[in-house]
Symmetry: C2
Subunit: 420 residues, 2 copies
């Protein structure tokens, strides 16, 4: 009975994230995150604390249910020491990657292990409360399927396709979703998930974080993750950490000028990279090529599609050997590469990962980007530079969103724990 | 007699930098660097160590001469506690800022307090051993004037005007000083200063570090320091740390393309920022204006100078209201601003500091740069952006070089101590 009561108490624990820790507790959690499970003696060795202090800190953390005992380690002459690890079932985390036309989400334990996964079409131009209500429903479906309780959701990491004021977790002047400006995403989710700490970041930042935690970016100190789709954006890892910039809008490379005589962009300036090289520019040029007769294949596709072409169609035409489609894709790669060349000089990354809807364009795009970068960047900066498509696909964003939620689960002196 | 012997022993201490520490010692040094002087009890509170462990660590550090007792603090009920601080006279540091035509250097204590300061004209196109011998002589002059011994120099921070492989402390493919490629600067100085750890970095990086430690960049997490002179380069602070990039050549913005139809740069590409906007481009345009009659004043200056103009002359003409000179400077500012606009979108700094030989050009240059950035960057990224001349002048480089030497004085687990 006693035990059952205790278990019940754990199930509906009035725990709210972020869980504030003192530096001593944080040191234990950090060691455990790094090493999985260790004994009191090992913790004492790592921290330099006395046996008494170590025991006291551990006792307090176990009482708070943050740590659990997990069997016995190897004896070192005396009785076998009890091993400790972070209580993975302390609660659950959610990673939510909001795209212009889709939602990707995952429910994980506090160690970031995926327990449930959902994807759904969506339209981000909906009012934010409607859109996010749908997200909450999907999260609740995962929660129910997992047999847990919505009060056990301790963190929600959210990626959104627009500029984010990271400290306030709101979008600022988002071109794709103007109705979301200043909408309190954190408050909205906390209404349904009162124990959750909600962190909102730009969609490309979470992709970069995902690439760093679980992709080829693991262990890479300096890289740029470039997302090419309807828009063009980037996420930046500097010295092993996400670089959000002074107000959180770093990485916005879509509006760097590539051609002063170019077309007017939706931002009001002329010749922005996004306006000449992203998905809509590619389809627009393809439509022109269809209309003006320079590509019979594109005209045929256009007519079959009711006068519309998608980037995928241009890609398909290219694969079938259509010269006009090939030129359009090459020109796009060239312009993206021209901008990246300057950023390579400035930032000197060792890797550029390219993701987003256009990654299935394959080698023509990639080769053009590489060629432009090699031509315009300093030899020193490109000597060991790798430019490749990200292998993570849509998992980059979700993984990064979970990592973000996990990072802010425990907070010490106002700072989240950064543990890769 | 005992005391004298002890003092003597300290004077010729066989101490070599970097001083390797274990994490426990490092924690004490870090606390003392942050707080100046503190008691054992305070150290024990900060570290969480037992009284016994604290005493033992302190005793060991005092025996090694790294710490000294400095009087008594306030009593908290018992006897007044002894205060400890880092032994500032443990040795000396040197900051050396090598420019194309000048050497700036300082001798400091290990806390970075300047004791001696020297500047000298120089020519970096000299062979490196000749050039650096001259530097060694100047350092020895300072050492002698200070009454200390060359074996007491524990660190030398060196800034050089070219790309540096930071981990190896050598220049790579330096355009201004080709003879320096791969020259072992560290070995060279250690021959004369055997106890010194030598750290070599790019000149603009040390200016950025200097601005961060002692200028308006103090406490600023994200900024770009732009040096405009014979070349154009930048130093980058991201998340409060210098960003050197994957092989140490980050910040090289002088060869970003500003005009694909522009003149050929010494790097072989066309229309590099440096080729169209730095000092030589400014004087070249001014000479043209003098020759083709579009400026009587510039012609007059040119003739008075034997057919030569320096950037300062163009500036002086501008101050006297010469329209051609003004246009040249404005055009330069516009092109620099165009490139910075893209970098502001990418990096989202809160500050841009401008330094180097051209900072005395005053408002016309600065206003043109600001205007171009405001016009081309995203409103979000410029909302709180400050663009100003650095107030540090030549002190930025020397200060940064000292800071670098200081950072690498103590090393724990292969990592230097970063303490602002």
């Amino acid at each position: 009975m006693d035990v059952l009561e205790k278990t019940d108490a754990k199930q509906v624990l009035p725990l709210r994230a972020p869980i504030l820790m003192n530096p001593a507790e944080a040191e234990v959690i950090r060691a455990l995150r790094r090493q999985g499970k260790i004994s009191r003696t090992e913790i004492s060795n790592i921290t330099g604390w006395s046996k008494a202090k170590t025991s006291q800190e551990i006792r307090s953390l176990v009482e708070k249910n943050y740590l659990v005992e997990v069997g016995k380690g190897m004896s070192q002459g005396g009785r076998r020491p009890g091993l400790l690890r972070i209580n993975d079932r302390l609660g659950y985390l959610v990673g939510l990657d909001i795209g212009a036309t889709s939602i990707d989400m995952a429910l994980t334990d506090v160690a970031g292990k995926i327990l449930q996964r959902r994807s759904s079409p969506a339209d981000v131009r909906q009012p934010p409360d409607e859109f996010l209500s749908r997200c909450s429903e999907l999260i609740l479906e995962m929660v129910n399927a997992q047999g847990c309780h919505h009060n056990q959701i301790l963190g929600i990491g959210v990626g959104v396709p627009g500029p984010v004021d990271f400290t306030r977790s709101v979008l600022i002047a988002p071109p794709l979703m103007p109705g979301w400006e200043n909408f309190q995403i954190r408050d909205f989710f906390q209404h349904t998930f009162p124990a959750a700490y909600v962190v909102v970041d730009n969609d490309v930042n979470i992709m970069a974080i995902g690439e760093q935690r679980a992709g080829d970016g693991a262990g890479v100190d300096h890289f740029i993750f470039v997302k090419i789709g309807t828009g063009i954006g980037s996420g930046i890892i500097s010295n092993g950490k996400i670089h959000r910039g002074s107000i959180g809008c770093a990485g916005d490379i879509g509006h760097i000028c590539v051609d002063k005589q170019g077309p007017i962009c939706r931002c009001g300036n002329t010749g922005c990279l996004e306006a000449v090289a992203a998905g809509p520019a590619i389809t627009e040029k393809a439509l022109q090529a269809g209309r003006n007769g320079s590509s019979a294949l594109l005209r045929q596709m256009m007519e079959a599609n009711g006068g519309i072409l998608r980037p995928e169609d241009v890609n398909a035409a290219c694969r079938e050997g259509d010269q006009a489609a090939l030129e359009i894709i090459r020109a796009s790669g060239q312009m993206i590469g021209d901008i990246l060349a300057g950023l390579v000089n400035f930032f000197n990354p060792s890797h550029i990962f390219i993701g987003g809807g256009i990654t299935n364009f394959g080698n023509h795009l990639l080769v053009s980007i590489r060629r432009a970068v090699l031509q315009r960047s300093l030899p020193l900066a490109t000597r060991h530079l790798s430019i490749n498509f990200s292998q993570m696909g849509p998992e980059a964003g979700v993984t990064g969103a979970v990592a973000l939620a996990r990072e802010y689960l425990f907070v010490v002196e106002g700072q989240p724990f950064f543990t890769v």
